[in-house]
């Protein structure tokens, strides 16, 4: 095209529709460009690929299995209570990770102890999974959040398997329970999940929150002061001595006995856990459903001291998203795929519940402090 073609002076001013009619190829080209850009945008957003495993899809399936969401509550681990105290890092911890939390002084901690149920009013005797969520807040903003479970690893190692398990666990409308045939089929094709189920059945259940120990489940990288990155898992190991309750004793206890016991326990004095990191050996699988051999190097990294327990109705933990990828410099995600999906699903759960009115929790209006 010559310069003259581009000269508006050669062309009498025409109205826009006339101009578009005069240049149909160019007009169509522009339409194609705009449609392409819009299509790419929608594709990246997952709108053209409903099969993509987004956080909304996972959460919708979880909510459906639970018979609908409980407004204002977390979509999982819904029944909980707020805790507060401090964390004091150990020099051995500082050698493994340069995160500010291991700097040595006591730093403030807030958190939450909960049960792994989507029902905030579930009976404590009906639940076999307990969790601890923490926010460690050293000065300077290098906050570390975690959400850790008392389970021996996880039942799956990928978000896809996590979703497949939810689908297989869908309650049969006739019985209200998962279809045994579907569940058996899932376990048959997912040996990691079958192994996890066996570990859970063999594991004695702690009698309370205070004498239970909680595991990171997932692998993370601890970055040492010299820059060395090591794959670790960690656990919060209870200082209170372990005890368990017979099933018939549990059944006879009150609906909120775990919480009632915790409130009684904290009045007797602070509750402590030791943060123990387990360092992977080369070749250890970074799969959440696979435990590492028991002889791996363990490092005591600090002590968590909880001296206050408070209902979610008035406490500070309900409105926090304990996103396991809120990590300080010195701790980094590993190639374990589960935390990324957890982070995305937690964000969506937080987004949904934050816009809802929250009815009072099962344990309302109670708080207690260590003497």
């Amino acid at each position: 095209m010559s310069d003259n073609d581009l000269d508006p002076a050669r062309e009498p001013a025409a109205d826009t529709v006339t101009l578009l009619r005069r240049r149909p190829v160019q007009a169509a080209g522009i339409a194609v460009v705009l449609a392409g850009v819009a299509g790419a945008f929608l594709y990246v957003g997952g709108y053209l690929t409903p099969g993509r495993l987004g956080s909304d899809r996972i959460l919708n399936a979880m909510e459906a299995n639970a018979g609908g969401a409980h407004a204002g509550y977390r979509r999982a681990h819904a029944k909980g209570i707020c805790i507060a105290g401090s964390f004091t890092g150990d020099p051995a911890g500082a050698a493994l990770s340069r995160a500010a939390v291991f700097g040595g002084g006591a730093i403030p901690v807030t958190g939450r102890l909960a049960e792994g149920t989507p029902d905030p009013y579930a009976k404590d005797a009906d639940n076999g999974v307990r969790s601890m969520a923490l926010s460690l807040q050293p000065p300077g903003g290098a906050e570390w959040r975690m959400a850790i479970n008392d389970t021996p690893g996880l039942h799956v190692s990928t978000p896809e398997d996590f979703y497949a398990n939810i689908v297989a666990s869908k309650p049969d409308p006739a019985t209200g329970k998962p279809d045994p045939a579907r569940m058996a089929a899932f376990l048959a094709t997912h040996p990691e999940a079958a192994a996890f189920k066996a570990r859970m059945q063999a594991k004695p259940l702690a009698s309370g929150f205070a004498n239970d120990s909680y595991n990171s489940i997932n692998g993370f990288l601890f970055v040492a002061p010299d820059g060395t990155r090591r794959l670790v898992r960690w656990s919060m190991q209870a200082e209170d001595s372990f005890a368990t309750l017979a099933p018939e004793v549990r059944k006879a206890r009150s609906a909120n006995y775990l919480f009632d016991d915790l409130l009684v326990r904290i009045r007797q004095g602070p509750i402590r856990w030791r943060l123990i990191a387990t360092v992977a050996a080369p070749g250890d699988p970074n799969r959440a459903a696979v435990l590492w051999p028991a002889d791996r190097r363990q490092v005591a990294m600090g002590v968590l001291t909880i001296d206050r327990v408070e209902s979610e109705a008035t406490g500070n933990c309900r409105d926090i998203n304990y996103d396991p990828l809120i990590l300080p410099p010195g701790i980094a995600p590993s190639d374990d795929p589960i935390p990324f999906a957890r982070s995305a699903v937690y964000a969506t759960s937080f987004r949904r519940r934050s816009g809802e009115q929250t009815p009072p929790p099962a344990v309302a209006g109670q708080s207690a402090e260590a003497k």
Binding site: D3, D5, L6, D7, P8, E11, A13, D15, T16, L19, L20, R23, Q26, A27, G29, I30, V33, L34, V37, A38, A40, F41, V44, G45, G46, R52, L53, G54, S55, I58, G140, G141, A142, E143, P159, D319, I320, N321, D323, L325, I326, P329, P333, D335, P337, P339, F340, A341, S343, A344, V345, A347, F350, R351, R353, S354, G355
Partner: protein
């Protein structure tokens, strides 16, 4: 390029094309990160926070530059409705380039999230921790992002319209 094309000042053109790349990247990163559970999620979110603040700083500088160095006039024979649409769309683009980073920052503040940029720099909260506010701002952030994308499409379409249909100098004035 013909000599008589009245172009934007060089600084304006640098602002325009730098921010065009950043804003478009942000729109795609934003819609992508909220739709994925893959291992890209965390990295995308970290980049999104950082570029958002960079855009906020740049758009402030760009607005000052625009006031000091006004853009060249539109073609005198441009129909009135297109003149008005051009003016309005630029107001909307500037407003959204300010609003999206500020809403994003305010939203993370109200949600009780730490706000790390460049991986290590912690920004202070600009709103108190309040999840009802978070919910409103979180919804607004997405709605405004879609509005920005729609306005960007109109802007791109108009630029191509000037270049290939009207064949005037408007697109060249920014190149």
């Amino acid at each position: 390029m013909r000599a008589q094309v009245k172009r934007f000042p060089l600084l304006s053109r640098i602002f325009h094309w730098t921010m065009a790349v950043l804003v478009l990247a942000m729109l795609f990163i934003g819609i992508g990160m909220v739709s994925t559970t893959s291992d890209r999620y965390n990295m995308l979110f970290a980049v999104h926070r950082t570029i958002g603040i960079v855009i906020l700083v740049l758009v402030a500088g760009r607005l000052i530059n625009r006031l000091l160095n006004p853009p060249p006039a539109l073609p005198s024979d441009l129909p009135r409705w297109q003149r008005v649409a051009a003016g309005l769309s630029h107001v909307v683009l500037y407003a959204l380039m300010f609003a999206l980073p500020i809403v994003g920052w305010a939203m993370l503040s109200a949600g009780g999230y730490p706000i790390l940029i460049f991986g290590t720099l912690a920004l202070p909260p600009i709103l108190p921790h309040d999840v009802a506010t978070f919910a409103v701002l979180r919804t607004a952030h997405s709605a405004l992002a879609f509005l920005l994308f729609a306005t960007f499409l109109a802007h791109l379409g108009a630029a191509l319209f000037h270049r290939f249909i009207r064949r005037d100098d408007v697109l060249q004035s920014m190149t």
